[in-house]
């Protein structure tokens, strides 16, 4: 990351290539279709590039990265909701169907986490898929470690019930 900040293109490429799959999966797990996840990933990297000076050497990269990704996702969700709201009010105009999610390896994980509310899903994704610590997830989600623990606990309770029924 420090080399990227110094303008090293090889370092920037390496970071993009190594972290994109997990960021893409993060967006896919958050109910975004593949096309949306592609857009969000691209937007996230462009924003990361723009604000790369805010990363501090020695600090963990993932909370910084996920905090930005989360911000982009929330923005995208609000924009989409506003647009959808407008579209729903206009009667007579046929809605364009969103492209269906293509079958992919992430579908299993997506289906597994689908019954969870969004806030619990993102916590489980960061903890168990991205491999972040409780402290890192707390930083990325602007919350306390206690709140992250509570969300993870509730998510596990829901998953336990869901898996037992299934």
């Amino acid at each position: 990351m420090a080399r990227y900040q110094r303008g090293d293109f090889a370092a920037a490429t390496a970071i993009v290539r190594s972290l994109s799959p997990q960021l893409h999966r993060f967006f896919m797990v958050q109910s975004a279709g593949r096309a949306d996840a592609d857009d969000l990933l691209q937007e996230t990297w462009l924003r990361i590039h723009k604000v790369r000076h805010t990363y501090r050497a020695g600090e963990p990269v993932l909370p910084w990265l996920y905090a930005i990704a989360r911000h982009i996702r929330v923005d995208h969700y609000r924009k989409t909701r506003r647009r959808t709201g407008r579209e729903e009010r206009m009667e007579g105009i046929p809605e364009v169907a969103a492209p269906a999610a293509e079958p992919s390896a992430a579908m299993d994980l997506e289906a597994l986490l689908a019954p969870l509310p969004e806030s619990q899903r993102e916590v489980v994704e960061m903890l168990k898929v991205a491999g972040m610590t409780l402290e890192e997830v707390a930083r990325a989600t602007s919350s306390s470690v206690g709140s992250v623990k509570q969300k993870a606990h509730r998510a596990y309770e829901k998953l336990r019930g869901w898996l037992r029924e299934g």
């Binding site: 490429t13 909370p63 390896a105």
Partner: protein, 233 residues
Amino acid sequence: MKDREIDDILARAAKAPHDVDPALLDRVTESIGASLTPVRPLPAAWLLTTAFVLMCGSVAVVTASFLGLHGLENLGSLERAAIFSVLAILMVLMAAICASQMIPGSRWRTFPVVLPALGSVALLAVFGVLFHDYGTENFVAQGIVCLRAGLFTAIPAAVASWLLLRRGFVTGAASAGLIAGSLAGIAGITMLELHCANFELFHVMLWHTAVLPISGAAGALLATALRRFIRFS
């Protein structure tokens, strides 16, 4: 079913390879490469904190000097020490939270709403202990003058804080606005304590302390509105 079994199921699902379209990655790296220049990382947190404190402290002192330091001149040593110590502590703590708001993924030592609330309670307690004049002469007329002066002092402090916040990347507009507004509110109260020589308990408790929550709320509302405007424009 135990937690470990759920862990295993999640781990198995997470291990499945997840590929991203190589063309997309090429587009991203191309865009980044086109504008890749060395950047200077943000200064250390303590430097940013100092900058916030200096900006807001300067606004308070300069404004009070311009209006007259009647409050400072009429306060006793104990009152000065108690009031300005509390204000200085609140200013430093709020400045530290403002600095952390500039950096995505910073550690949150406290929620931004907690400090302004605790700060208001601390100020009310200090004023309650120090001032024993229970008169309410010209309560509203004098109070509104002080409230207005405090809020007008908070405006340049808030603008300066916002300009510094913009050098980073704020991910929570409302919380950043709340804490920047509260910091500006502390600048407003500091100016009032330096300037206002009305030491009636209820005047100080209501009209001086009110600058903090009003500035904080205004900061949160303005930041949220600005964020929405940027998002949809």
